[in-house]
C-alpha cells in the first residue's frame, strides 16, 4: 500500500493533459452513439437520408464542442 502511495506522489507533469484525456471520454462515447444510431436510421429508412444526416451533424457539433472545450481550457487556466 505504501508503495502505491509513494508511486502516486511521484507523478509529475501536465495536469492539463490528464484533464483533456478525461474530458475526451464522454464526447467520444457521445459521438459514437450519434453516428451509430444515425447510420442505423439511414439503413432503416434510406429515403430520409438527408434529413437524418443534417440532424446527425448538428448533434455531432454540439457534442464535439465539449471535447474541444476540454482541449482549450488548459490553455485558458494553466
Amino acid at each position: 500500500m505504501s508503495a502505491i502511495l509513494a508511486a502516486a506522489d511521484a507523478v509529475t507533469g501536465s495536469l492539463g493533459a490528464v484533464g483533456y484525456g478525461l474530458a475526451a471520454i464522454g464526447p467520444g462515447i457521445g459521438v459514437g452513439l450519434i453516428f451509430g444510431n444515425g447510420v442505423q436510421a439511414m439503413a432503416r429508412q434510406p429515403e430520409m437520408t438527408n434529413v437524418i444526416r443534417t440532424n446527425m451533424f448538428i448533434g455531432f457539433a454540439l457534442t464535439e464542442a465539449l471535447a474541444l472545450l476540454g482541449f482549450v481550457v488548459p490553455f485558458v487556466f494553466p
Binding site: 455531432f60 454540439l62 464535439e64 474541444l68 482549450v72 485558458v76
Partner: protein
C-alpha cells in the same frame, strides 16, 4: 462520376466532420484571442479570455447550424 457522391459528404463543403471541428476550434481561438486582447487593454487578468472562448464557441456553433443544419 459526379462530385460528392461519397457517402460521407454532406451539404456545403465535403467532409463535414473535419469542417465542423475546425470551425469550432477556430471560433474558440479567434474570439478567445479577441477576449485576451480586451483583457490586456482593460488590464484585468484572465477575465475576458474565458468569456471570449465561450462566445466564440456559441458563434461557431451557430455557423455550423447555418452551413450544415438547415434543410438545403
Amino acid at each position: 462520376m459526379d462530385k460528392d457522391t461519397r457517402p460521407g459528404a454532406g451539404s456545403g463543403g465535403s467532409n463535414p466532420g473535419v469542417t465542423i471541428t475546425s470551425l469550432i476550434l477556430s471560433g474558440m481561438i479567434f474570439y478567445g484571442g479577441v477576449g485576451w486582447l480586451v483583457d490586456r487593454w482593460v488590464g484585468t487578468e484572465r477575465v475576458f479570455l474565458p468569456i471570449g472562448v465561450v462566445l466564440g464557441l456559441v458563434a461557431a456553433l451557430y455557423l455550423v447550424y447555418v452551413r450544415f443544419g438547415r434543410d438545403q
